[in-house]
């Protein structure tokens, strides 16, 4: 896809991980520091992003469009959109966060990190490990010792679910 400049808006193609193509206005991708530099310096019209799943790319493009339309009068609407945007299963949220970090979309990265933080804060230790597929490298003795250090933190109910 060639970018046309004659009076029309510049068009750009993004290629997701599964070779699916997304055609959008170049002005939209300028919100991404990475893509902005590619477009400005290399004058490309098609950018392959093999590490980003198409599903994730769809979400991000959706965000870029909404964010470009943001005005003081639809601020509330945008906030609601943001809330819904991160209201996905955690695995998908992490995919988005990784992609947003790669693309360097700074405002959205902050929002995603906050969403990840909000998701894990009330979880139990076991749930956090399951969510992120982290193996504990503590010995059982170490673990029970650390629990004893701050018993007050472990009172009450913690969320064991992994969504």
């Amino acid at each position: 896809m060639a970018s046309s400049t004659t009076g029309e808006k510049k068009i750009l193609t993004l290629k997701g991980g599964d070779n699916e193509e997304f055609i959008l206005e170049e002005s939209l991708v300028l919100q991404s520091e990475l893509l902005k530099n590619m477009v400005k310096e290399e004058r490309v019209s098609s950018i392959p992003l093999p590490s980003i799943k198409s599903k994730t790319l769809v979400k991000i493009i959706e965000y870029l469009k909404k964010h470009a339309e943001l005005t003081p009068s639809n601020k509330e609407e945008f906030k609601n959109f943001e809330k819904e945007f991160v209201n996905v299963v955690l695995e998908e949220l992490l995919d988005i966060t990784v992609a947003v970090n790669y693309l360097k979309i700074n405002g959205l990265l902050e929002f995603c990190c906050q969403a990840v933080a909000d998701r894990i804060k009330d979880k139990s230790v076991e749930a956090v490990r399951k969510i992120f597929r982290i193996e504990s490298d503590f010995t059982p003795e170490e673990e029970s010792e650390f629990r004893k250090e701050t018993p007050e933190a472990f009172e009450g109910d913690l969320d064991d679910t992994t969504n």
Binding site: A117, I134, F138, E152, A153, L158
Partner: protein, 357 residues
């Protein structure tokens, strides 16, 4: 984030997420959840107690304010922090911290960044020039650079990231008169003499506060003000001198303390007038035996000793939202008020601090 470099490079904090992004996620989790998350893995534990985490929190402006208390129980000093379990309905409680390695009496105190500075105080009845520093991030004490001269019952205040200390010494030689006031820069770790005119050099200070960039130090009679911006010394007004009792706190430019009837009132520096804080009478006792106040994230936090029975004392605490009314009066709303610790009779609150972490 150089600090993370020494963690096991094989284990990413969150698989598939670069460590600096994972750090940004963890830095946004409220600190009360950190003990639980520290148990996830070694790299999580390491990161959650790293300076990198705390500097990220301050860059992201996700710091929270925590209350610290210094109590005197059976003539020894005990340090506590207020902890509220976010997952439990149980009320707020004070949890003990490691105690100061040395026990100076009559120290001055200052909070700067994540650290509480314990300045001078006498050891074996000799004024010391020690600086003890409690790092609230890691719950540990360290010794800081010594002042140029020893002090007890000095005044201290923080303005623009530097600690100003004055008084607490008898000006009977050249060194003491040159160094009656000193300023500490934590970035260089150096103390420097702060020139002062002879007439302001009072000996013992019973209270201090900072309003704007002016440090107020109250002596037994009268008091001094040091304007850091202009580098000028002055004296405090008679009204402020007569009305100031105990450990005052400055919230929204108003200096709050209790009056002779045990009610909270605020002093408006611009108007030179004391006003009663309205709206809080019903929820609070009369502070006839005093109260310690601190600015807690722009709210007024009050700690006091409440009577329980003959053998024990309740350490009480209340957090109050305060504001100026349209007519210039001061009003408050008690957000919560609670017993935070029960201690043996005779115990008392030495000082109360708010630290952003």
């Amino acid at each position: 984030m150089a600090d993370l470099g020494t963690a096991d490079p094989q284990s990413q904090l969150i698989p598939n997420l670069p460590d600096d992004v994972a750090l940004q996620c963890l830095a946004r989790v409220p600190r009360s959840h950190h003990p639980i998350l520290s148990l996830v893995s070694k790299s999580w534990r390491y990161t959650l107690s790293s300076t990198a985490l705390y500097s990220t929190r301050s860059i992201l402006r996700t710091t929270e304010t925590f209350l610290y208390l210094n109590l005197r129980i059976n003539s020894t000093f005990h340090w506590y922090t207020l902890f509220q379990n976010p997952n439990s309905q149980k009320s707020r409680k004070l949890f003990p911290l490691s105690s100061i390695p040395c026990k100076p009496i009559g120290s001055a105190y200052a909070v700067l960044g994540p650290k509480i500075y314990v300045i001078g105080g006498s050891i074996g009845e000799i004024p010391s020039n020690n600086l003890w520093v409690f790092d609230c991030r890691f719950n540990c004490w360290e010794m800081g650079p010594r002042m140029r001269i020893g002090r007890e019952f000095a005044a201290a205040g923080v303005v623009n990231g530097k600690i100003y200390v004055m008084g607490g010494c008898v000006v009977d030689n050249w060194a003491r008169s040159m160094n009656w006031a000193e300023v500490f820069d934590p970035l260089t770790g150096l103390w420097a003499a702060l020139p002062s005119p002879i007439e302001v050099r009072n000996k013992w200070m019973h209270a201090s506060a900072v309003v704007g960039d002016r440090v107020y130090a109250m002596a037994d009679r009268g008091g001094v003000v040091y304007d850091v911006g202009g580098g000028e010394w002055g004296s405090v007004t008679k009204r402020l001198d007569l009305g100031w009792r105990g450990r005052a706190a400055v919230v929204g430019g108003v200096l709050y303390c209790y009056d002779y009837l045990g009610k909270i009132r605020g002093y408006d520096v611009k108007e030179d007038v004391w006003k009663e804080l309205k709206g809080v009478e019903k929820g609070l006792p009369r502070f006839l035996c005093g109260a310690t106040m601190v600015n807690f994230d722009e709210r007024l936090c009050v700690a006091w000793e409440g009577k329980r029975n003959g053998k024990e004392v309740d350490i009480m605490c209340a957090e109050i939202e305060v504001w100026k009314d349209k007519d210039g009066g001061l009003s408050g709303n008690i957000l919560w008020s609670d017993v935070i610790l029960v201690v043996p009779n005779g115990a008392s609150i030495v000082h109360c601090f708010a630290v952003d972490l």
